[in-house]
């Protein structure tokens, strides 16, 4: 008996509570589906479903077996994905990427969680900007990554979108450093330290728009990414930097710099896991789950709860 195929049928019928719908989902006719369930029940010596003329109900024995059946199927998917990677000459390897603003703690949490979910597969982790990840997806050099939004999502599938509120990194002697929360508009007069635009052009533009919307239009934008370089710019050049709490480049004991939240949380990074459409598999799913979980638990990332108002102007030409 093809156990995997029979378990797929079992799980589908359990989830749909209906032979017709389960058959449609599996892309097969109803009579062979019924036969498979009967054969599985005979093989296991356990009755999995109660059938009445109108509906199918899973038995208690079936419920007890369902979780393990799902686990076995997931393992089977993983096995096949690994085999496919090996067959495609990629070895048992998942090529994944994170953007440079992800903290070391998040990387560590992601790696250990991924190993727990997917012990057999090697994870090759790269530090790549969103633009580099999108190019690598197109070139088939990357399987999955954590990207910044907004970006061009053509041909991608996405995990849940999470936001990390941004705060501001200030010189300790700045007047705003004494506030618990800094109003964005009060940063007027400071230059802004930001990542180079080419790393994620739409995120860069969107952030400057959000700053302007909040009353802060920096006279100059200075480009920097590494922690010590950003620190140097903030300390020496009348600039401030933006960043989430977990990657603030100043710990509370820092004698020179402080990190403060922005009043009303007007700025955020928005992330999701992304992978090329149709190239998802169990390994990609495991990475997506591990990365999403790590961002939630170690990087203060959360689901966006309030959608901004959207006023379409007449030149938009569309209207729903």
């Amino acid at each position: 008996m093809d156990l995997v195929r029979h378990l797929e049928c079992f799980v589908a019928v359990a989830e749909e509570s209906h032979f017709g719908r389960a058959a449609a989902r599996l892309g097969m006719a109803q009579p062979p589906l019924s036969q498979r369930i009967q054969r599985l029940e005979k093989e296991l010596g356990v009755r999995l479903f109660e059938r009445s003329s109108r509906r199918v109900t899973i038995t208690e024995a079936g419920t007890l077996l369902l979780a393990e059946a799902r686990e076995l199927l997931a393992r089977s998917d993983t096995f096949l994905a690994t085999a496919r990677r090996i067959r495609d000459g990629e070895t048992g390897l998942l090529r994944a990427a994170l953007s440079p603003d992800v903290s070391g703690r998040t990387v560590a949490a992601l790696l250990s969680d991924f190993r727990r979910r997917h012990a057999g597969l090697e994870l090759e982790l790269h530090e790549l900007s969103t633009a580099e990840q999108l190019a690598a997806f197109t070139a088939h050099e990357l399987d999955v990554g954590v990207i910044h939004h907004p970006c061009d999502v053509t041909g991608l599938e996405l995990g849940p979108i999470l936001r990390r509120d941004l705060g501001v990194l200030l010189p300790r002697e700045a007047p705003q450093a004494t506030d618990d929360e800094v109003p964005l508009a009060s940063l007027t007069g400071y230059d802004l330290v930001l990542f180079p635009r080419a790393h994620a052009p739409a995120v860069y533009d969107d952030l400057l728009t959000a700053c302007a919307r909040g009353g802060y239009t920096p006279a100059a934008v200075r480009h920097g990414q590494g922690a010590s370089f950003v620190r140097g710019l903030v300390l020496s050049s009348g600039a401030v930097a933006l960043g989430p709490r977990d990657t603030q480049h100043a710990d509370p004991a820092d004698p020179d710099l402080v990190w403060r939240p922005l009043a009303g949380a007007p700025l955020a990074w928005r992330h999701s896991v992304a992978w090329p459409r149709g190239r998802g598999d169990a390994a990609v799913d495991a990475f997506a789950d591990a990365a999403t979980h790590a961002l939630r638990t170690t990087a203060d990332a959360r689901t966006e709860t309030t959608a901004r108002p959207l006023h379409l102007r007449p030149a938009s030409e569309y209207w729903l």
Binding site: E317, Y318, W319, L320
Partner: protein
């Protein structure tokens, strides 16, 4: 053949504005061209109204339609839109050619569907085929297109159109599944229209008139801030998509058909730089065509 400096300037302009862009520009009289991804299949959106316009006038020229025929447009069942008949509240009676004016000048979706129903989808496909636009296809009207967007957006409606998950699944943004063309096909259409090859000159003049009455200043026209340069065009927009095709005419007789199609990485609805780069790119192309 487009020189590398021009290609570089076009790509830099598109990148600065945060868009991916595809362009074709042609000197209507000499046939000289500038191109950047000119054969890319693109979603036409409201640019497709040019195809409806030409079909209408072709049928009029053949004596099958009277452009002064009066039609009723009751408030119920209008295709949604922010302009023209689509935004009006009361019953309207107007001629087919005035409906064409609204369709072209303010991109009136109701007027476009009214005309599209009158001529039929098949007639539009016959017209574009006859003019040699082999990569252009009309698959549905504007009500149906907006209907797929409503379905794909789900219960949150318009507000969901800035959600990356929704953008990734909108069928209206997939050239394989919606009204489509290429930049090169569109300049071929405009060249035929300006050379009176699409229709006899009396009808050609009527079409050029309504294309010159388009109200939007923010895209193609913004690249030509010169009182003595004439710009006629038709825009097209959907979430992340901003298009315009048109003809730019200089007082020395130079006339250029330009088609620019763009896609933004940012799904925000208000992105003035993405609108303006259509004019910037068109100007780069026209300047290259006019260079001595």
């Amino acid at each position: 053949m487009t020189d590398t400096a021009t290609t570089g300037r076009l790509h830099a302009a598109f990148a600065d504005a945060g868009v991916t862009g595809w362009l074709h520009a042609v000197d209507i009289d000499s046939g000289a061209q500038v191109e950047a991804g000119a054969d890319q299949p693109v979603c036409t959106a409201s640019v497709h109204k040019v195809c409806v316009l030409v079909t209408l006038h072709e049928l009029a020229a053949a004596g099958e339609i009277d452009l002064t025929e009066q039609v009723e447009c009751p408030p119920a069942g209008r295709t949604p839109g922010p302009t023209g008949l689509a935004a009006m509240l009361d019953p309207v009676r107007l001629s087919l050619r005035d409906a064409a004016l609204l369709m072209m000048s303010v991109s009136d979706n109701t007027a476009a569907d009214l005309l599209l129903r009158r001529v039929g989808l098949d007639a539009v496909n016959r017209t574009t085929a006859r003019l040699g636009l082999t990569r252009t296809r009309t698959v549905y009207g504007f009500a149906e297109m907006l209907g797929t967007m409503r379905e794909d957006a789900g219960p949150a409606g318009t507000r969901a159109l800035t959600d990356p998950h929704v953008i990734a699944r909108l069928r209206a943004l997939d050239p394989a599944r919606t009204n489509r063309s290429t930049p090169r096909d569109m300049t071929r259409l405009l060249s035929a229209l300006w050379r009176d090859e699409a229709c006899p000159s009396e009808y050609g003049a009527a079409m050029r008139r309504v294309m010159s009455l388009q109200v939007w200043p923010h895209r193609l026209a913004s690249g030509f801030p010169f009182d003595d340069v004439h710009v006629a065009g038709k825009t097209g927009s959907l979430p992340t998509l901003r298009n315009e095709v048109g003809v730019v005419e200089y007082p020395d007789g130079g006339r250029y058909a330009v088609a620019v199609f763009t896609r933004t990485a940012n799904p925000a609805a208000t992105l003035p730089a993405a609108d303006a780069v259509i004019g910037t790119a068109a100007r780069i192309a026209v300047d290259a065509l006019r260079a001595p």
